[in-house]
């Protein structure tokens, strides 16, 4: 309601200004009028609508968020545009002078955009533009020059654009507001959990000697942390969010299976990735993790992913285990087959580095 309400207040102000302009035009150019009583009636109608909207906006704004008031106002707007033709001397419509029905009726289009969305705004604008045709007929114009047809057509385009734009702004603002609300909610939750659950979980891990309990606290902490502090998937490029999720899943399984702590660090500015690339990288990283768990005697593993030269991705899996000597060990058969095979399928390459006693690092590049 917040976004719509503030925009509707803006439209209400517009209505008043437009109405004042209408009165000014009628008074100053009263000599052009063929039927002054009709002009007076149109001004009165506009005044009633203007007052009614302002009153409703103050007392019961949610009553405005339905089609009925929008349709009613638009109908009044069209009546003012068409009535304009009857009120003035014949031929006045396309003359150089101001007429009473040019600005005020636009408020109906704006309201339609705000309340019913961009499409309704566009349709309302087109209707109001077409009403100018009826306006001209009412003003006894029977033959239209190209210039006059173009003038009406341009009204149709401009009015419907105005309605659609306002509607689109509402959609954007609403999305922004929802994002802000979600971020605030998370912050609130994070603050609460910070002093409560996360502290407790961390405390258990530091003080408990029961490995099963420590592992459980660790897993809970990791899940909570992922929710609270990781970049929201919607902010990552398509595919990058999938990769991050897959890697976190792989690391969680790895920690549970091998009782080794591991961390996933994914840059939030990765390029978009295809499903095949995600599959290859996540699968290969999983294999590298398994390898570290089975053979490396590691106590800590880090999976790191960052963008490489704009469009590519670099991924490394590093452990602090025993490592191997590349010169003597026919580098882990499993590593060679599964990791290299998967990465090669998407045109990438793999490099495994290790020194005895200094851990192993598997580096992968995918273009």
């Amino acid at each position: 309601m917040g976004v719509e309400r503030s925009l509707l207040s803006g439209v209400a102000a517009f209505r008043w200004v437009a109405w004042a302009w209408m009165v000014t035009v009628v008074l100053v150019l009263r000599r052009d009028l063929a039927r002054p009583w009709l002009a007076g009636a149109l001004v009165a109608l506009a005044a009633v609508v203007t007052v009614a909207w302002t009153a409703l906006l103050r007392s019961n704004p949610s009553a405005l968020l339905r089609p009925a008031p929008v349709v009613a106002e638009l109908a009044c707007g069209i009546a003012v545009v068409v009535g304009d033709g009857f009120a003035y001397e014949p031929g006045h419509v396309f003359g150089p002078s101001q007429t009473l029905g040019v600005i005020w009726p636009l408020s109906g289009v704006l309201a339609a955009g705000v309340i019913l969305g961009p499409w309704a705004g566009a349709v309302a604008g087109a209707l109001l533009g077409l009403a100018r045709f009826a306006d001209a007929l009412a003003n006894r114009v029977h033959e239209f020059s190209d210039r006059q047809i173009l003038s009406i057509a341009s009204s149709v385009v401009v009015f419907s654009l105005a309605g659609a734009t306002v509607g689109y702004i509402v959609v954007l603002l609403r999305g922004a507001r929802e994002e802000v609300a979600e971020a605030r909610a998370r912050e609130g939750v994070a603050r609460t959990l910070h002093d409560g659950v996360l502290q407790t979980l961390a405390h258990i891990q530091r003080r408990s000697t029961e490995t099963a309990i420590v592992a459980l606290a660790h897993r809970q902490e990791r899940e909570l942390r992922d929710y609270l502090f990781r970049t929201r998937p919607s902010r990552l490029a398509p595919g990058a969010a999938d990769l991050a999720a897959r890697l976190r899943g792989a690391v969680a399984r790895f920690e549970d299976t091998f009782d080794v702590s591991a961390e996933v660090l994914v840059a939030d500015d990765l390029p978009a990735l295809s499903a095949a690339q995600v599959e290859a990288l996540a699968g290969a990283a999983g294999e590298a993790l398994t390898n570290a768990g089975k053979h490396g005697h590691a106590s800590r593993v880090i999976v790191y992913v960052e963008p490489e030269n704009d469009r590519g991705v670099f991924c490394s899996v590093k452990d602090n285990g025993t490592g191997f000597d590349p010169a003597t060990v026919a580098e882990g058969v499993g590593l060679a087959r599964s990791v290299r095979g998967r990465v090669a399928e998407v045109g990438g390459r793999v490099e495994a580095r290790s020194t005895p006693g200094d851990g192993t690092e598997v580096c992968m590049w995918v273009p």
Binding site: D195, Q199, Q205, R225, F229, L265, A267, D268, I302, D358
Partner: protein, 213 residues
Amino acid sequence: MGAVRRREPIRVVLADDHPIWRDGVRADLADGFEVVGEASEAGEAIKVIEATRPDVVVCDLHMPGGGGFAVARACGGQAHVVMLTVSEAERDLLDAVAAGALGYLVKSTPGPELRAALERAASGEPVFSPSLAALVLGEFRRIARASSGVQPLSDREREVLRLVARGHTYRQVGAELFIAEKTVENHVRNILGKLHLSRKQELMRYALEHEIE
């Protein structure tokens, strides 16, 4: 890594608004460390630090009185401040480091790792965990993009940061790049300096754009 074995115990100030945490950390530090002061909020911590001049300050990021930020801003110049936190909110961590902290540790860090990190911090070495290195790298990539490709970091500094983010120790980074471990430390210190500077500039730019026009 632990080459600098001191005779004297390392003098520590603990600042955390939860007494149970200070107890826990004190128990974990045990020998080799001496807790010379404790505080439960930022203002108190700053006073205790000025009075005791410790080798290292272990400080909760979120505390009453402005939290670890206030402590790092006030004392980051003279004291070695390490944030101990359960938070991993990106902006908090970058702000803490930019305010003058030597780095941060997550509260679930196991005892031996905590001791090793504090030993290094006591001698002024930045506590650069891989996750902090990754955050800082991302931040500098953003800065480079925002200023149309101008890189605030040198190639060498970027390379150091990438290796730390991938999980290499300073010794391993040195071996990989054929430079001394001390040189790696210097690079990391320079990177922190640049981060500090860029955060300051960003604040100034923001102030210019939004207030003085």
